[in-house]
Symmetry: C2
């Protein structure tokens, strides 16, 4: 019974919130169906607890809990044939299972985490967030909770349904809450000049501005098809969507111990820092 | 892979929806912590599938997944002391676990069930629903899904947090969607002139009007303290709140095989029918 959990009634949730994304490939085995990385999840929960952030929103991806079915049944493209229907709802069920592991780990580490289902409060139109009812998240932050959201199977006003990526969610939340910082925890060290998994000449980009990012995007556009939610391309695309919201963003390798803690504490850490200009 | 699941784009969700409540004491062992009645859940899912209702919303209670902690930590009364915080979020987690069992059973029976978290789209004020973002539910109904909600731990604009009963949720949904019928599946045969569990003289009320119900409520008000969400008293209270919405309501015993099927099909069934006048 951790008495440490506090209920802090706050007067303002704007401008103070850090949005932390935990990549699906960090917390799950992305190549297998529904295999969570429990040790990693628990380590990350401990790093988040140790960082002791006053106002935090956590978003996680799906990895092996969402991507394989989303890809196989083309859920992102919307309703096309009857058998998709079952998999649309099964993806949400699977994401809730993964979310439960993340939230339970946070609670065990004395964080007042609270699960929020994106599909219960968001509707997209042609895959982009059209309506986002955030009052419950605002109230959760006000009373001292850490809302935990996830990439989800959501209803869509044009397509019937689709997949909402955790990355799009991060960008929307960052803009809505005028986040002070956004941290993307991924399974590589940051943005590279080429794909570090296939090219030896790939160099880590330590700092980049959004205009520079725009130029870079063309050189890596071919990576677009490798991931139902866009992978690193998707992340960069979402960052560009957020171009008008000058939020300091850092991409770090969350598979390496201590990086999420350091990023949350604004300590020196290997990664890519993206700033407006 | 049931190809039977259909995606039916609909033009209107109003006036056609049946709202079905499955009581917590029907689908769980209310006296034990987190013990679901899996056979009952599966039987009910089959009855719902067999009834083949075009537009349906399912709401379930918490029973042993919500009540014991809600009662022990006084969550319904709102924030009073720090250790409540952990249990507020743990109740939501437990309710998600029970909800998963219900939704999975419905999916297995070829129903396009989709889980909706009340705490992600509802805020209460002093325990009563103040904001209810229902667009995702509307869209789910439009495209042919069966939204499945549950009594939940929710944020409250006055109390910090509280418990939203499945019964209050049923009344709110019935009014919002101008439901054609409301069915309460409970663990007794309906409303009685006295408590059938303790009094031999208790007689089942087969038909009752809301004005008559108002009179009855005073005679059973002493039962108020026996259930954190109000038990049968709570149900009657919610029905009275809905007094201006003339929705035909039936209370049936869902522990008895076939009753939910019959109630959904509007067949003759033992129970209490409540009408406006």
């Amino acid at each position: 019974m951790p008495e440490e959990l506090q209920m802090k009634f706050k007067d303002d949730t704007k401008g103070k919130t850090i949005v932390l994304k935990l990549g699906g490939s960090v917390i799950t085995n992305k190549k297998k169906l529904m295999v969570p990385k429990l040790k990693v999840i628990n380590r990350l929960a401990k790093e988040i607890a140790d960082a002791n952030i006053e106002q935090l929103i956590v978003v996680h991806g799906g990895g092996g809990f969402g991507h394989p079915w989303a890809k196989q049944y083309k859920i992102k493209e919307g309703y096309k044939y009857p058998s998709q229907v079952e998999w649309f709802t099964r993806i949400h069920q699977a994401m809730l299972e993964l979310n439960k592991l993340v939230v339970d780990a946070l609670i065990r580490n004395n964080i007042a985490a609270f699960s929020v289902s994106p599909s219960s409060c968001i509707i997209t139109k042609a895959g982009r967030i059209q309506v986002f009812y955030d009052s419950a998240i605002v109230r959760l932050l006000e009373i001292g909770f850490v809302p935990v959201l996830f990439g989800d199977a959501v209803v869509d006003n044009e397509l019937g349904f689709t997949i909402l990526s955790g990355d799009q969610l991060v960008t929307a939340l960052s803009a809505k809450f005028n986040a002070s910082r956004v941290i993307f925890g991924v399974d590589v060290d940051g943005l590279f000049t080429a794909d570090p998994k296939t090219s030896k000449r790939a160099q880590l980009i330590r700092n980049i501005t959004l205009p520079e990012l725009k130029a870079l995007i063309q050189s890596i556009e071919q990576a677009k098809a490798t991931d139902v939610t866009g992978g690193m391309f998707g992340k960069i695309f979402e960052l560009m969507v957020a171009i008008d919201v000058p939020i300091k963003t850092i991409i770090v390798n969350a598979t390496k111990e201590g990086n999420i803690y350091k990023a949350l504490r604004e300590e020196r850490v290997i990664g890519t820092v993206i700033e407006k200009e």
